[in-house]
């Protein structure tokens, strides 16, 4: 992929690099839990009456974890109902590209499903979710058409879908990461309309 080739400073994404990133995210999440829970536990041990303050500490840690997953969920941006002629035209072509099997999912959730070697991808307008084999871990990527503000929503998805089909690892290299973690964490933060997409993969 030419977009990945012009970023020589980025190490090419692979099965191995994604697994490593996943472990780093898990360590980070564990670090957040320890950072906020340990002082809370110490506080209760020193002064049990400080229990409400300890709860605030722990709540803060939980909020940080939610914020991380929320950032991943917001990045994917599903397509909405087509309201204009170009939107309908773009959606028609995208429907042809995804094929019969996943067209219904696209209509229902606004995300296009693409299965690859690294896992199952759910592609939105400005990002994609990668559900890793086994289905327990997800990676959220922020990626968009470089100059695509004038494009219909479905066309933006079509651009990303084509790029993904051309070179899955290159696509993951170009994209910026904004979350990796357990699938249930992301599901909690996704809009209700989008959640069924995670169940399908």
């Amino acid at each position: 992929m030419s977009e990945a080739a012009v970023m020589p400073w980025r190490r090419r994404a692979s099965e191995k690099s994604l697994a490593k990133e996943g472990r780093i995210w898990t360590l980070w999440s564990a670090g957040v839990i320890v950072t906020f829970s340990l002082p809370a536990a110490l506080l209760i041990w020193v002064e049990p009456l400080a229990f409400p303050v300890a709860v605030i500490f722990v709540g803060h840690g939980i909020a940080v974890l939610h914020l991380q997953a929320s950032r991943g969920a917001r990045g994917v941006k599903p397509i909405g109902d087509p309201e204009t002629g170009p939107e309908r035209t773009a959606l028609g072509l995208l429907g042809d590209l995804v094929g019969h099997e996943t067209r219904e999912l696209l209509q229902e959730t606004g995300l296009a499903l693409q299965r690859g070697r690294l896992g199952a991808w759910l592609v939105g307008q400005e990002g994609a979710i990668l559900v890793r084999p086994g289905g327990h871990r997800v990676h959220c990527f922020c990626v968009r058409v470089a100059e695509g503000s004038d494009l219909p929503q479905a066309d933006r998805v079509a651009h990303l879908l084509l790029a993904l089909r051309e070179d899955e690892e290159g696509f993951a290299t170009v994209a910026n990461r904004n979350f990796s973690g357990a699938r249930w964490r992301l599901r909690l933060e996704l809009a209700k309309r989008v959640r069924p997409a995670l169940r399908q993969v």
Partner: protein, 74 residues
């Protein structure tokens, strides 16, 4: 009939169609294809297995070639 399509603000635009028997339509398609590449578009030919391939010359045997803009990290 094969099609050369550009993703753009109108949804998409069909730039050319060609058949294996008609050399004039092939030449017109190749010309349109090169013009778009010169303007920075990338061409993607859909393969039979559902994957896609970046092409720099118009594959005359492809059913559908789609021109797209480059992507970038968000």
């Amino acid at each position: 009939m094969s099609r050369l399509v550009r993703l753009d603000r109108t949804g998409h635009t069909e730039l050319a169609t060609w058949t294996s028997e008609d050399e004039a339509t092939q030449r017109a398609a190749i010309e349109a294809f090169r013009r778009e590449l010169d303007e920075g578009m990338l061409a993607s030919a859909t393969l039979a297995d559902g994957s896609a391939e970046v092409v720099r010359e118009l594959p005359l045997d492809a059913d559908l070639v789609i021109l797209r803009r480059p992507i970038a990290g968000g």
